[in-house]
Symmetry: C2
Subunit: 200 residues, 2 copies
């Protein structure tokens, strides 16, 4: 590689990392556990990486932890342009895919071509939810939101009057991928219903 | 494992992940790139993971990316109790090690014993800065702060009247571990000096 090409490559990578900073300003519906403010998508992604490390022992044997860490680190980047779509918002879900594809074009397109292809493939793998790693990452995404709402005393379940059936449906990927966690999830939901944090 | 032991194990892991949420409230001196607010240590850790993925090609051959991702995900957890120690604060640096050891005892101690040992070993590896992975992670930690201050128009360099010699010293690990990035770092520092963002 010439010195010029190397400089251009590094400049692209720096531009991407600089743009990525905006994910810290994208707010989710789930609050911090102390309910002091909404969680942002960057710190949420970090929390998923930590959860992946701690809960990896419950994932199906052979689930590659490095791949999972890469998936969760990159999974929400498109929200920089597309925004966070609330899991229980059916209307916003309708054009979510289109908005996110356009976002992926721009954001991953900041990287050098080969790196852009790799990063986009990771995002698409997470979205497709087919590989063992993507299924684990998606299950963690659901589980982390459950813990946030549990600790915050209802969180987005309360604010948006989410029903038991909706939460059970949303948490279903945990039952298939992390069956050891499912009784705990059902217990959290049951308790939240009894406290009126989830609409029964 | 008995059902009781399994429940206890999961409860410990959930307690750890819940406590970890507090890292989102620990503020650093570096601002977001738009200078709108200080960055917190959780979103900073996510940014390092992303930087590790993007800049891994510049790390010495054989640097294990999974290990790096684990190191950066866990490296700041002790700040939950010990707070963020500003890199250029000599006074606060004096008892940093003691404060962080006590924090590590409590925070990693929330995990089941085997997991606590593994997590603490990761933190100690990052701190020791000896393995290839720890050196890469530490260099990224310096580089990310440089990018934040650069984009924010001076950031913590300006607010705390940091000098060129201090910044060059702080960035030195990049020269050794990511030499391909060093000319860019020196250029950023030179430009920041010319703009008065770093005290020359």
């Amino acid at each position: 590689m010439t010195a010029d090409a190397a400089n251009t490559r590094l400049a692209s990578q720096v531009a991407f990392l600089t743009d990525a900073d905006k994910l810290k300003t994208i707010l989710r519906r789930t609050p911090l556990t102390d309910n002091s403010r909404p969680e942002n998508s960057a710190e949420h992604s970090w929390h998923l990486a930590l959860a992946a490390m701690v809960l990896h022992e419950y994932a199906p044997r052979g689930t590659n932890l490095q791949r999972v860490l890469e998936l969760v680190t990159i999974h929400d980047l498109v929200e920089i342009d597309a925004g966070d779509t609330f899991a229980y918002d059916v209307q916003a879900g309708l054009d979510k895919a289109d908005r996110e594809q356009a976002a992926a074009d721009r954001i991953f397109g900041l990287l050098p071509r080969d790196a852009a292809v790799r990063a986009r493939a990771l995002w698409e793998e997470f979205e497709a939810n087919e590989s063992a790693e993507a299924r684990f990452a998606n299950a963690l995404d659901r589980f982390q939101a459950l813990l946030q709402n549990l600790q915050a005393g209802g969180g987005s379940w309360m604010v948006h009057h989410v029903t038991r059936a909706q939460v059970v449906q949303r948490m279903k990927p945990i039952e298939a991928t992390l069956p050891a966690l499912w009784p705990f999830v059902l217990e959290v939901i049951q308790n939240a219903c009894e406290k009126g944090h989830i609409t029964d």
